[in-house]
Structure formats: structure tokens, C-alpha cells
Point group: D2
């Protein structure tokens, strides 16, 4: 990703919004490299509803300030990102390492343009892997008082100026208090094709129901467990020969790639949460 | 499919079953063309449990009788099919024609080796298509007393010696009484990736939940609506741009192919129902 | 598709193009419903190269004329479509009916927003299906002098004011002269994943090479056989059990859906040919 | 994989082969856990041709010897494997680490039941990763005389009693002499959907042709470059927005999983090479 600006903007749709923004960008001599535009259809009103925009464009002196002024004056929600600022990630993991390895390695290979600032785990077994890449590893056992545990973790995240928490098979439930510190900034991988098999042991549930595909779902964490806005999903074909153990094994590959994909989208500023329960993913 | 025998067999697994069957087939000079073998792992006992077998083999004089004798004496559940006997299908449809068209055309092209003996519908609009292929079409409106309606339909099926009922978007719920006449002989297409979005209007549910894939499920009909043994499933990728109408449209393609695939497996005698709620599909 | 305008535009990329167009649309009080924007990276120059745009926007009095004036004055190649004008299709087919049936039925169900004005075939067997939908069927045998045959077909297409020719398994090679009458207006389905297995009998070639997936490719027809710009491709998984006959059978489903998809994209004005050998598909 | 025997057998098909083998297994009190059977259709003769069998069955005293005797006397080619003997792998890699990481990590997680005995590379950059798992790493630069380089590598493989060489993006061409030491025991990953884009820089070729899917192919290495028997293939969807660099990036995920899958099949003894240019994969 070369050095440029990304603008995410949301507002009620009306004539002239795109024109307004493109005019400012052109005025400052910046070229638009990419532009995504989505007008949500309003089923209730049977009319267009909300407008979602994403621009990639060249940097130019004073352009950012000009955009900020105009967009603020026009009641448009927005964020402007400079792609030279990499998103600071904290990677949370328990014992299972597959999703953790995948995200970490994709960041190392610069496939995911981000920075992993620290790893937090309630087990020691992934320390070696993290430290072999010179990433600080924090062992925070989960058998303490939950309030204390979470405060420790919040302190670690604060110290590393974390902007995104990635739950790479972190098998602990976070409290509403914790989640409220990182709204739409915690991404989890659930090991089923949601909303199927909510709750514990989804692969056992899948085996018992006799489904012919198993999947995984990456989503933002909200106070409603397994109900957060879905970012990405995928499935893989199985058959009657797969026992529960086999489902777990093949499911790992889907979990790893679906989580890594969601993180990539997020740090590329391609994801907007719509109305609290859905995502726009400009991919 | 050339002219041959297909044997489906199920029993508790023990040493020597496959040997027993292959010996008889060899003894009568018949060559095995295809052989599927599945030993189900018994999670409860942590041991092998039930054995499922499917053989395709050449015809030979007296072979069928010899197999029937031996298998019966050994407590093996079995069916022997002659591939020259095509399965007799009744195709049920309401207004929407896509799944109906797909199954009918695949049978016409001999991609599905079966015979469509009749079409039953609670609407008139698909009469023309059925009759253009010289297939008898029965209009049975659903606004009568349900017992009478179903008796009419049972009479039609009996008259045509129907062996398989395919619900190709037949939007009527069948009573337990009706279903009991055709155990594991009624295949339905549900317009979601079960067990997600059980019940009415699954595409609206999918849109509201913001999933990133929509799917379809073909299953045997049992007295438990949407809970019958799953035969096949597939999904297709969507994104935030799809409104409910778009989901319905793209979903049709998945519905059609998943239903046609299930019918094809069934009439090729590749499907065995296991314990009432799952299928073995030897594909 | 509701009643609106679609603009496709192409030019060398420079600052201000999108601004220019959105300003006119806003000036006439029209709301943009959808906007796609693609700046092609120029590998040779290591810089942005050409710009491709697609707008969907509300109709407004005089808007079309205003756009036409401005775009012409600014050296921008463009087309403006009114979605109430359905594309007029001629469907060409030989003996095999699967792709022909699929395209025809999707148009009938309004999944593909177009009009099939006529069917042209060198065989009689698909007459019945076409005529059962009241679509004129022209039998043009191919065992005549090729120049005469093609002139007959051109006359039929002219009479029906055909805008798009769909070769739904039309197993005749069209001359350069014929193709020159419909530049980027003839869509073919090739029964392989191009550029694999160019030429005759691709399924036999695929079987001999032992590939694990077979596919199909829809492309615009140019004077270079099998080399035209690719619109869509898909594959399906096979294994060693599939003989050549089985590959042909399973391949039909991919061929049908890949052709229908390409036709749908085209008549929705989502396809732009880039430099004669590639497509932009705004899907 | 529990402790059991796996038998792979091949012969000309005739009546009684499966009976012969199952009888011996039953005689020694062993239960068959899994059985795959494939009769290849002979297109030339229009008849059944060769028979391929794979059995998984319980161990029993003297059973292996009994099978060896009988199969040898009946002109059946076979191998019997004890699943407690893990296949000894040498992993070859150049600079790019993705496929190397994937195979190594899946073996570490016991998803692939094998042992990586050593890593061979013409670059130093992957030493750290290999050694962090205590796997011996051999740096064999490729800028020496090829005969000397290959002899060095052969010595390393001999020392580690290597049974399978995995080329995880090892960008050196092996000589016929080298390959002849490991017939059907060297697995390569080619970064295209073969036979498309044979030769150098397949992603550039794919970009220039404008395909809509890119893929990868794992195959046994033979003296014919890019022509060895294909074990597995997969593809991923792309569009006009992907430049060559993007194709390389997304292609890595397919390469990694297709290579790891092939290695898994091979060490599970599921792959038989048929006639030198195709594979049977009993998956």
C-alpha cells in the first residue's frame, strides 16, 4: 500500500454528497485512486437510505484539513487515515495456535499492513513463537479475579497504544466493561458459520446435525456474545466420514483464513459498521 | 449408467462382512465396478460402530437371490437395485419455477437417471412447461380441506406408482400422515443453510443478520419441519449490496442445483439414512 | 432494475474527472445510486494509467444531453443507457440444450433483464422449447456455403435489431466478417478454464492431463478463436472417478451458469473491454 | 491416525480380487476400517481396465506376511504401511516462506502425520524459523556446480533417510539424475492452475490474459517440468482490480494450502500414480 489517504464517510443519502467530496479532492490537485460508493436501500421506506463512501486518494498539503472542515459542516460522519500509519494490533490467544500463527505470519510478510505490538495469552505455550519474532508476550493467567485480569490486559493494551484487539482463539469471554473500551475494535473468530451453532462446541453440534459444510465467522465483539457484526465467513465441504475430531482439524484452516481476512480488511480501512449489527466491507 | 446391480447394506460392524459379500459376488462370476465402505466411529463407545456398504457390480444369473439369502441370514439390512429400473418421481411445485425447471430438465437430459411420472401443483402456471414435455400435470388447489387435498395427492401418487416425491419449492406443509406414506422418500429444498434461518422468510432473516454467504439445503422430509436428514448443501457469496430481493434471486441458483444434486444422488442409490437424522452420501 | 440511467466512461486518468461528472449529475438534481471507479495501474510506467467509471443515477430532464456535451468535450469515451431499454438478444444454439435453456429461462424469470428476440440454430431439436415461449426460431442449416449461411443469419439479426448475440453452445466458427458486425457484442461459452485446453474436445484433454478441477469460460468473440476478452470463469471439483463422459456432464452445469452470468453482467452494462483483450466487470 | 495397516494395491481388474484380499484380512481376525475401490474405465477398449484398492485395517499377528505372500503370487502390485511409521520429509525452500511455514506448522500440529527431518535451502533467511522448532537446517547455495550441489543435497537426504521431498517454493530446477533417486517421492507446488501458464512468472501471464480465477497445482516431480502427475489443485477468485503484485499475494494462500493438502494425502498413503501421468487420490 503506497502512501496515501483513505476517507470513510457515512451520512443520510442526498443529492450532491459525492460531488461535494470529489470537488475538494480535485481542488487540492489530488487524484482519486479508488472510490467505493454504497447507497443502502431502505426496506421500510422503500427508498434509498444511508450513504457509505470510501475514497483512496493522493496526499496533498492542506487537503486533510479542508476535508475535515467541509465534512463536519455537512453532518457527515467520517474518518481520514494516512496509510503510512500502521494499525497497532494486540493479538490474544489461548492454547490453540493456528489462527494466531496465521495472523502473525501474514503481518510479518506484510500481507496485512499492520503492526503487532504485543501478544496476550492465558497460556505460556505460544510465548516462544511470539518472541522468536521479537514481539512482547504477556502471560496473563485467567484463574484470577476477572476484574483484575482484565485491568491488567487493559493496562498492557494502553501501554502499547493498541488500536485493534484480535482474538485468535482466545477462549475467554470478555466483560461488557472491557468491550466498551474498544468499540468495533475487537475482532473474534467463531468456529461455526453463524448464526448456526451458537454457543459451546459448534463442531460437535455440526456433527450431530449432519451438515455437509462447516464454516467459520469473523465478527466484531459486542456485549452480545456471537451476535456482533459479521465481517467475513467461509465454509468448507465435509461428508459423513468426518468425525468431530476431523471437523475440528479441517475447521482450523477456515478459522485461520477467515480471521486473517477480516483483520486485513479492517486495517485497510475497508470495513464500516452499519447500525450496530452489520458491516459494509468494501472489498 | 449401464445395466448393473447396486447393493446398499447396513449392519453392526464386525470382522468378515465385506469378505462375506465379495465372496458371493465373485462366486457368481460378477465383477465389482465400484465399492464404498464406511465404518462409523462410535463417539460414545470410542469404538467402531455401524458399517455402511454400497456395491456396484455386474449382473449374473441367480446372484441376486444368493445375496438376498445370505444377507438375510446374517442380520444385514439391505436393498438391491437393478439400474435398468428408473426411479419413478412425482414433482411437486407451487408458483416459483426455478427448482422445478432444473430437476425436470436434468431428468430430460438423462443427467438424472429417473422418470418423472407426474407433476402436482397448487397453481396452474407451471402446467404449460410440464405438458410441453408430455408429463401429466395435476392441479390440486390448496384452499380445500387439507385431509381431502392430501388424499387426492396420495391417489395421484399411487396411480403413478411414485417412489420419490420431490418438493421443488412446494410451499405447503405436509401432514405427518402424508409423510408416513413415503418415509425417506420425500426430498425438500429449504432456502437457507440449515440449521440457520429455520422458519419463514430465511432470506429476510439472512439480510437482517448480515451474513456474508447464503445457502440452501436439500433434505428428507420428516415430521419435524426443517429437521430432516440433510442430503446436500451449498452456499454462495454475497455482500452488503444485496438487498432481500437480490438474495432471493441469487439464492434460486443454489436452491436449484442443491435440489437437483440430492435427487441425482438418491436415484443413483448413493444415499443411506443413518439413525433417522443424518445421511451417508457415497458420492 | 428500476428506471434509471447507467453511464460507462473511460479516459486517461487525471485529477478532476469524477468531480466533473458528479457535478453535472448533482446540478440536475439527480441522486447517484451506485458508483464504480477503477484506476488501472500501468505496470510499464509504474503509474496510474486509465480510468474506468460506471454510474447508476436517477433520470432527470436534460441530464443526458448535458452529460453527453461535457463528456464529449473532455475526450472521455462513454455510453449512457436507459434501463427501461432492454438489450435485444439473439440466442444461437446447436444440438446441446443446457446453456440455451438456462439463458432463456433466466431471461423469462427476469433474472436477466433483457429480451430474447430470436433463436438461431443449425438443428431443429430446440425449436419446440423456443416456440413454447413464443420466441421465433430460425433453422439455418450449416451445410451450405458459409458466406450464404452467415448472410442469412445477419439478415435475421438485422430484422430483429439484435444488440447482443449469445452463443449458447453454437458449435460453428464464425468468420471474421461476421464478427466484425458485432464487435464486443458476441458472447461465447468455452467448455474449459481458458487458457487451458484450447481447441477441440477440452474435456478429453482435461481427463488425459488428470486435472482436479474442470471449468468453463465466457468471453467476447474476436477474430482470434478462444482468445477473446474473458468475462467470467468458474470451476468445479472432480476426481479420478470421472471419465470423459462424466466430465462433459458435470461441465454442463458450469457452462450454463458461467454463460448466464456473463450475459447478465453485459445487459446490466457492467462490462467494459479494456485494450481489446481484458474486461473490467463491475460486479 | 490410530495404529493400523494401510494397503495400496493395483492390478488388472478381474473377478475376485477384492474377495481375495478381504478373505485374508478376515481370516486373521482383522476388521476393515476403510476401503476404497476404483476400477478405471478403459476408453480405448470401452471396458473396465485397471483396479486400484486402498484398505485401512487393524493390525494382527502374521497378517502382513500372509498378505505379502498372496498378493505377490497373484501379480498384484502393492505396498503395506504401518501407520505408526511416520513418513520422513525433507523440506526444500528458497526465499519465500509461506508454503514452507504452512507445511512445517501443519506437521508440528500433527495435522499432517509425518516427521520433518531436515530443511534444505539455497538462502539463509528461513534458518531461524526451522531451528526454532529444532529442525536441522542446511544452507546449500545454488551458485556452485549443479552436480556438486545436488550431490550435497542427496547426501543430506540419505543421512536423514528421507522418504519424501517437499519443494515448498524451492526455485531451483532439479536434474533428471536427482529426480531419478526419488521417483514419485518429490512433491512440488506450481503457482498456476496447470496446464495454464506453464513456465516463468505465471501470475504475470495470468494478469495479461485477464483470467478471473488464479490457482495453484501440487504435483509429483518428473523429468518433464510442469508435467508431473497432479495431486491437488485449487483456485481463488480475482478481478480486474488485482495487479500482478496482488495476484502473487493472494496466490500464496492457495499455494500454501494446495501443497500442504498434497503432502497430507501422500503421507496418509492416499495417492497412487496411474500410468505415470495421473493420480488416484482416495480422499
Amino acid at each position: 500500500m503506497e502512501d496515501k489517504y483513505i476517507l470513510l464517510a457515512t451520512c443520510n443519502d442526498k443529492v450532491g454528497i459525492t460531488s461535494l467530496i470529489t470537488n475538494i479532492i480535485a481542488e487540492y490537485g489530488s487524484n482519486i485512486l479508488h472510490l467505493d460508493h454504497f447507497t443502502e436501500y431502505d426496506h421500510a421506506q422503500d427508498t434509498e437510505g444511508k450513504l457509505f463512501l470510501r475514497f483512496e486518494f493522493e496526499k496533498a498539503t492542506q487537503l486533510k484539513e479542508a476535508l475535515e472542515n467541509t465534512l463536519s459542516q455537512n453532518d457527515i460522519n467520517f474518518d481520514i487515515f494516512d496509510t503510512s500509519d500502521k494499525t497497532k494490533i494486540a493479538l490474544f490467544v489461548s492454547k490453540e495456535d493456528h489462527a494466531f500463527n496465521e495472523v502473525l505470519l501474514r503481518v510479518q510478510r506484510k500481507e496485512i499492513p499492520a503492526e503487532i505490538t504485543c501478544v496476550v495469552s492465558n497460556h505460556e505455550n505460544n510465548r516462544h513463537f511470539a518472541e522468536s519474532f521479537n514481539i512482547p508476550f504477556y502471560y496473563v493467567p485467567s484463574n484470577n479475579d476477572k476484574a483484575i485480569v482484565e485491568q491488567n490486559i487493559l493496562d498492557i493494551c494502553a501501554k502499547h497504544e493498541v488500536e485493534l484487539i484480535v482474538l485468535a482463539k482466545y477462549m475467554q469471554i470478555l466483560t461488557d466493561n472491557f468491550v466498551s473500551h474498544y468499540p468495533n475494535q475487537i475482532i473474534n473468530i467463531h468456529h461455526s458459520f453463524l448464526p448456526s451453532f451458537i454457543g459451546a462446541n459448534p463442531y460437535k453440534q455440526a456433527w450431530e446435525r449432519g451438515v455437509k459444510l462447516v464454516g467459520a465467522t469473523s465478527h466484531f465483539v459486542t456485549s452480545d456474545l456471537d451476535e456482533g457484526p459479521i465481517i467475513d465467513q467461509d465454509v468448507t465441504r465435509i461428508n459423513h466420514r468426518y468425525n468431530v475430531q476431523d471437523l475440528r482439524k479441517i475447521g482450523r484452516h477456515v478459522e485461520s483464513s477467515v480471521l486473517a481476512q477480516a483483520v486485513e480488511y479492517h486495517v485497510q480501512h475497508k470495513v464500516i459498521v452499519n447500525d450496530g449489527n452489520k458491516t459494509i466491507v468494501f472489498n
